[in-house]
């Protein structure tokens, strides 16, 4: 079975097809080259293979497997947590967090604050319950937002019975009526007189207040529910979408064992050479945030271990003498080699080299060729884009030729060299005059 299998790969940007229906298979241990004129879609193939673009069509398998973050129960829990949090925040925003705070905390002080009381107050505000507050032997009945006193009572029983009647008025405020008995105004629900005040005006005013409480209560309940569930949906789906989008992200692919270099060198220019390689080692570190905060330099075995590996890699590409130089100060050829060392630091199974010999003179190219052979002998499969035909023909096991995003030829160097379609793509068609 092929090690890297690219099948029917298409990549379109809007209407423009950069790559269409390209298939090829790389065997383990091969040096496999992709060549073609400029604009043939070679780098696009690399970008798709390393997850920078999501392919429009087709799939890419490394060792028979598509590299992607797996779905786990833990992820589901994390999305749920994000959803609940968003829901809570949105609910707070919709129910007026300031009044909520007053309803929850204003009646408490340090000696009376308990979780039960806080919960009671908070849920009372959300559901619009009237509240009883006891202070120094006096009971007062407050509106659900705890912003004004409805009535005072002398004993707890008295307060409770009044509260019960008021709740009844609020619940039935739509059908409650006012009756005048002996000049006093009474609020009636059905035949039951629930509250008597000094005259009719006062009673109708009070009923109006109760109606307001009822409207406020039902509105707040609706808002709280909309906030909670709407926020949950937004948070949950958002977290899911982020995961979905990042499933085949470059870091996931890199962790799966594919490393690459770039056509235009993309080193971390203001970091030293050794640090560039250490960034490549990142995925082998295990320490968490606390560990790192306690990590005085050079003390942890982990850091020393990776420093050692990085040093070996620099020695391998011949940069050990320049380990402490800034990457931007390296000569061009060394920058290319450092990029290769950085890619090797991730311990890839497949290495993608994008025009590693660009801008090199013949003797540098010869060195590079040797380096590529050495990398192969470490058991790493290599996928290469290159324009220097002497390099490509000398070291490739197999070559694919692309032109305008379409595969026009595939085979051993000899086969490709003599293929008329390839010659046409590079040199143009001979005109018959």
């Amino acid at each position: 079975m092929a090690f890297l299998k690219v099948e029917n790969l298409s990549m379109r940007f809007g209407g423009l097809a950069a790559v269409s229906k390209v298939s090829f298979a790389v065997e383990k241990g091969q040096i496999f080259s992709i060549i073609g004129p400029n604009g043939a879609g070679k780098t696009t193939v690399f970008n798709v293979v390393t997850g920078i673009y999501e392919p429009t069509e087709g799939d890419i398998r490394l060792d028979g497997k598509v590299e992607a973050t797996p779905f786990t129960l833990l992820r589901l829990l994390a999305w749920t947590a994000v959803g609940i949090l968003t829901g809570f925040v949105l609910m707070m925003a919709l129910i007026n967090v300031d009044r909520f705070w007053r309803a929850t905390f204003s009646s408490l002080d340090r000696s009376t604050i308990t979780f039960g009381r806080v919960w009671n107050n908070a849920s009372g505000y959300l559901t619009g319950r009237l509240a009883i507050v006891e202070k120094g032997g006096k009971w007062t009945i407050l509106d659900p937002t705890r912003s004004y006193v409805i009535q005072s009572a002398d004993s707890e029983e008295d307060a409770n019975s009044r509260l019960e009647r008021f709740e009844k008025i609020v619940a039935n405020s739509g059908i409650a009526t006012i009756q005048v008995v002996d000049g006093e105004g009474a609020i009636m629900v059905g035949d039951e007189s629930l509250l008597t005040l000094q005259n009719q005006d006062a009673a109708s005013q009070a009923l109006e207040e109760f109606r307001k409480i009822e409207v406020d209560r039902s509105r707040r309940k609706t808002f709280a529910l909309i906030g909670l569930f709407g926020g949950f949906a937004v948070g949950f789906l958002g977290a899911f979408a982020m995961w979905r989008r990042a499933r085949g992200a470059p870091e996931v692919i890199a962790r799966g064992g594919i490393a690459r270099t770039f056509q235009n060198i993309r080193l971390f220019h203001n970091m030293t050479v050794i640090e560039n390689v250490l960034v490549g080692r990142d995925r082998f570190y295990r320490s968490g945030l606390i560990g790192m905060a306690m990590n005085a330099l050079g003390i942890t075995p982990e850091e020393n271990q990776n420093l050692r590996v990085a040093g070996d890699l620099l020695r391998f590409v011949g940069l050990d003498a320049k380990a402490n130089m800034l990457a931007k100060n390296l000569p061009y050829g060394d920058q290319r080699r450092l990029e290769i060392a950085r890619a090797l630091a991730t311990e890839p199974r497949l290495l993608l080299l994008d025009e590693p010999a660009a801008g090199m003179n013949p003797s540098e190219s010869a060195d590079l060729m040797k380096l590529i052979e050495q990398i192969r002998s470490r058991g790493i499969t290599i996928l290469l884009i290159e324009h220097h035909m002497n390099i490509v023909m000398a070291i490739s096991d197999r070559i694919v030729v692309l032109d305008h995003g379409v595969k026009i030829a595939e085979g051993t160097p000899e086969e490709v060299r003599s293929n008329p379609a390839v010659i046409e793509a590079y040199l143009g068609k001979e005109e018959v005059s």
Binding site: T50, I52, V97, D98, R99, W101, R102, F105, S106, L108, D109, R110, T112, I113, A249, P250, E251, A254, R255, A259, R260, F262, R266, L267, F268, H269, N270, M271, T272, I274, E275, L278, V279, G280, D282, R283, Y285, S287, L289, M292, A293, N295, A296, L297, G298, E303, L307, R308, G311, D312, L314, R315, D320, A323, N324, L326, R342, A343, A345, T346
Partner: protein
């Protein structure tokens, strides 16, 4: 590479400073001693170090750091002030303020992960303004424009820590308590950041600034790196805010505006982006000039000059001039960031370490 000797020297000097006799030199008309300005310098330094994590290391241009300073201050104030029912002790309040600001930093960072440069700057700027509006308008929580006051003096297990000041023979009103507490937190922040700087996280921060795509192609999740930068940067700002609340003794919305963000950014840029020493020096210079030097010079100036010119009134002009000169002659800051030099040992290839 290790803690440089001059940092030890600086810490030592700061430790003995309150007993040097210099601390009580009064400044200008306010007659506040220099020492009581220094403890404020410490939390501004922590704030600048926090901003340095976002802007200096990770290259995330964060213009709303004052909001997180304010959030830390308000959390600490709400958790301790007598008008709210919590009245926690000092260290719990400081820890919760730090964590709260860090969480909010992540909450701001998560939806803006794909923004870079100017766009991120705009979002953070807007966030800062929104938070300030909240401080003013949430009357029941923040007491609106009048603010939360008083914030009690630091205590531990309900024992006021004032005995420390008294034991030092300075009386309860002295600045010594806040001076030493803030200095401790500053040293702690510097040590932690120094360690992080040379850990894999610090390297990932700098790599993120240099080239995000290359970083992700190395198998590092840029999302995590960014969020951790936000969390740690904003968390430090929250810590600074909590120390501010305790040192000043009251919190109101006005100080947490864009000016503070801008001046903090100036401290970071003046000192050197991404360099701890630089940021400390930058804070020392800007705030030191603002709080200590300019009142001292002003009070020493003869009356007839004062009619036309005081440094206090011209200080923003002087800041601007200093920054322009800086950008012209030394754009990388006074102490530019330097990468750590490492030794490569000879091993493995030749069999074992040499």
């Amino acid at each position: 590479m290790r803690f440089p000797y001059w940092r030890h020297l600086a810490i030592l000097l700061l430790l003995i400073y309150p007993f040097s006799g210099l601390e009580s030199v009064a400044i200008g008309a306010l007659a506040t001693p220099i020492g009581s300005q220094l403890d404020k310098l410490f939390f501004y330094a922590i704030l600048a170090l926090g901003l340095n994590v976002c802007v200096g290391y990770s290259g995330l241009l964060h213009l709303g750091i004052a909001a997180f300073f304010g959030i830390g201050a308000y959390i600490a104030a709400i958790l301790t002030t007598p008008s709210h029912p919590f009245q926690m002790e000092y260290f719990t309040a400081v820890a919760l303020a730090t964590v709260g600001a860090a969480v909010l930093g992540v909450a701001l960072g998560a939806p803006t992960l794909r923004l870079r440069g100017d766009y991120l700057a705009l979002v953070t700027l807007g966030f800062g303004e929104v938070v300030k509006a909240y401080f003013i308008n949430l009357d029941n929580i923040t007491r609106g424009a009048e603010g939360l006051t008083p914030i009690p003096s630091p205590d531990y297990l309900n024992v006021p820590l004032n005995w420390l000041s008294e034991a030092l023979g300075q009386g309860p009103a002295s600045f010594h308590l806040h001076y030493y507490l803030n200095l401790t937190f500053l040293v702690l922040a510097v040590v932690v950041l120094r360690n992080l700087e040379n850990s894999r996280l610090g390297r990932a921060w700098v790599a993120l600034r240099e080239d995000e795509l290359a970083l992700t192609c190395m198998g590092v999740s840029a999302t995590r790196v960014k969020l951790s930068a936000f969390a740690i940067g904003c968390g430090l700002a929250g810590l600074a805010g909590a120390l501010y609340a305790f040192s000043i003794g009251s919190v109101s919305p006005t100080p947490f505006d864009f000016n503070l963000s801008a001046i903090t950014l100036c401290c970071v840029i003046l000192g050197g982006l991404g360099s701890i020493d630089g940021v400390l020096l930058g804070t020392g210079l800007l705030y030191g000039f603002d709080r200590i030097v300019s009142p001292l010079v002003d009070s020493a100036m003869p009356e007839w000059i004062k009619q036309y010119f005081t440094i206090g009134n011209w200080r923003l002009m002087i800041f601007g001039l200093a920054l322009i000169l800086m950008m012209r002659f030394r754009p990388e800051g006074i102490i530019p960031s330097k990468r750590v030099q490492r030794e490569l040992h000879e091993f493995d290839a030749k069999g074992g370490a040499a």
